[in-house]
């Protein structure tokens, strides 16, 4: 069921405490700042957040972490020069971290959206990030079993939506948007523009509307 809503507050209103929330973006590109701010305002807590990073500076995901609303981060690259809020919480033992190689993170999200129960990959074989995981030698290479990452909600940013919820993105801001849209039970999208049904060429659509539940236009 697709809904077009007027405000980011309405868009995130149903997010419950303890939810697993995927948040799109790589660095600031594709990060849905307005939706994250609304998630902050709506009060949901005890969240597990899936994102490539663990927040930058004093905005978006970093503030959600600072306010203690994130119980666990699943990400590939938490440590950055300006990830001070995550660093402080982590050193204080107040946030759990599941560190995942970036390609495994992307593929585990993709697998969830595609109904795949898991997969073997050479990435991480023989390293500390494979400790405790099932391994096999396949095609002569050591490989590690990785499981899908599902989510209750995805918050993503796209460039334009049409009346059917089909999405197109802009440049490298696409990053995790299409795979998170498919992996979450409920996908909320902030867009820069909405065009009528038929207003996007079907040949260029990146995310078909079947994956999308709520759309909100932000200025």
């Amino acid at each position: 069921m697709l809904n077009f809503v007027d405000t980011v507050g309405e868009a995130v209103a149903g997010i419950k405490d303890g939810s697993t929330v995927m948040i799109g973006g790589f660095g600031n590109a594709g990060q849905p700042f307005e939706l994250i701010d609304a998630l902050m305002d709506c009060g949901a807590t005890g969240l597990t957040v899936v994102n490539n990073n663990a927040g930058q500076g004093d905005q978006g995901l970093a503030l959600l972490i600072k306010e203690g609303r994130v119980k666990k981060m699943i990400c590939s690259f938490p440590r950055q020069s300006d990830s001070w809020h995550f660093d402080a919480k982590f050193r204080a033992g107040e946030i759990e971290l599941e560190l995942v190689p970036q390609g495994n993170l992307a593929e585990r999200i993709r697998a969830a959206g595609a109904g795949i129960g898991g997969f073997f990959t050479p990435t991480g074989y023989g390293t500390m990030l494979a400790e405790g995981k099932e391994t096999r030698i396949l095609d002569g290479r050591g490989q590690v079993f990785e499981t899908p990452i599902h989510a209750d909600v995805a918050l993503i940013k796209a460039f334009t939506a049409d009346g059917k919820g089909n999405l197109v993105y802009r440049k490298t801001a696409r990053n995790f948007g299409p795979i998170m849209a498919a992996a979450a039970k409920h996908t909320i999208v902030q867009v820069s523009g909405i065009v009528p049904t038929g207003g996007l060429d079907p040949e260029i659509i990146v995310t078909p509307g079947i994956y999308v539940n709520s759309i909100v236009k932000v200025a």
């Binding site: 590109a29 490539n52 590939s76 970036q102 992307a106 440049k171 490298t172 990053n175 948007g177």
Partner: protein
């Protein structure tokens, strides 16, 4: 200073191709020259990024950035800066004619599926058999962050490492066995350092050329057995 090309026959006597150790830019120039025309290449964050400054248009190299683009151009300046167009180091970049964008799973499939010809990475340590350690010092208070390093190390057809041969304390980063946590096993094929170019593989380490030292002097710095590379396959 002159940096010789890779395809030159390197006899043991003529293995020293520079009178001095190479600086970062000379090393980047050497790596750039060694990349075969038409290659698809990923340059890691830091020193490897310098390689892009020395790629010639006639080499027709296509650069991949793991956040979702092929055909990445130089760093953006002034009006070119667009927050939606960044590289893996989150630096604003430009797109070249023929560029393409794709989502993260596709971008890592390009890497993990063996489609990239070369990736160039920095390293803390490389072992004699090509094990790579470049993501984590293992220090108890360090916050680990891996990013795409493990995918690049295991996915690209060739993995080139660029690093200084010695730490600030004068200890070789080319080692028998890595003491830092591993990024990948047996994945590194070449190591470009300020003192020499090493070819690594299951049979140990060959030296293609040295800079500012003889093979014997190099051997004194490095705790793994070295031999001069045969001209073929270097």
């Amino acid at each position: 200073m002159s940096v010789q090309s890779n395809d030159q026959t390197a006899s043991p006597a003529g293995i020293r191709t520079s009178e001095k150790p190479l600086g970062r830019d000379d090393l980047a120039r050497l790596v750039a020259r060694d990349i075969k025309p038409g290659s698809f290449v990923n340059l890691g964050i830091g020193q490897p990024t310098l390689v892009s400054n020395y790629l010639e248009p006639e080499q027709d190299i296509t650069l991949h950035t793991e956040n979702g683009m092929l055909g990445m151009g130089p760093e953006a300046t002034g009006d070119q800066i667009d927050g939606d167009l960044i590289n893996a180091g989150k630096i604003p970049v430009t797109e070249l004619p023929g560029a393409s964008y794709f989502h993260h799973a596709d971008s890592f499939a390009i890497m993990r599926g063996g489609h990239l010809d070369i990736c160039v990475l920095g390293a803390f340590q490389v072992s004699a058999t090509g094990d790579l350690a470049n993501w984590h010092t293992g220090a108890p208070d360090a916050i680990p962050a891996v990013g795409g390093a493990m995918d690049l190390a295991t996915g690209a057809k060739d993995v080139f490492v660029m690093m200084t041969l010695l730490t600030r304390e004068g200890i070789s980063k080319l080692v028998e066995t890595c003491s830092y946590p591993l990024t990948g096993i047996g994945c590194v094929t070449r190591v470009y350092t300020d003192r020499a170019v090493f070819l690594t593989g299951p049979d140990g380490v060959e030296v293609r050329e040295t800079f500012g030292c003889t093979l014997e002097e190099l051997q004194d710095m490095v705790p793994v057995p070295l031999r001069a590379a045969s001209a073929a396959g270097s």
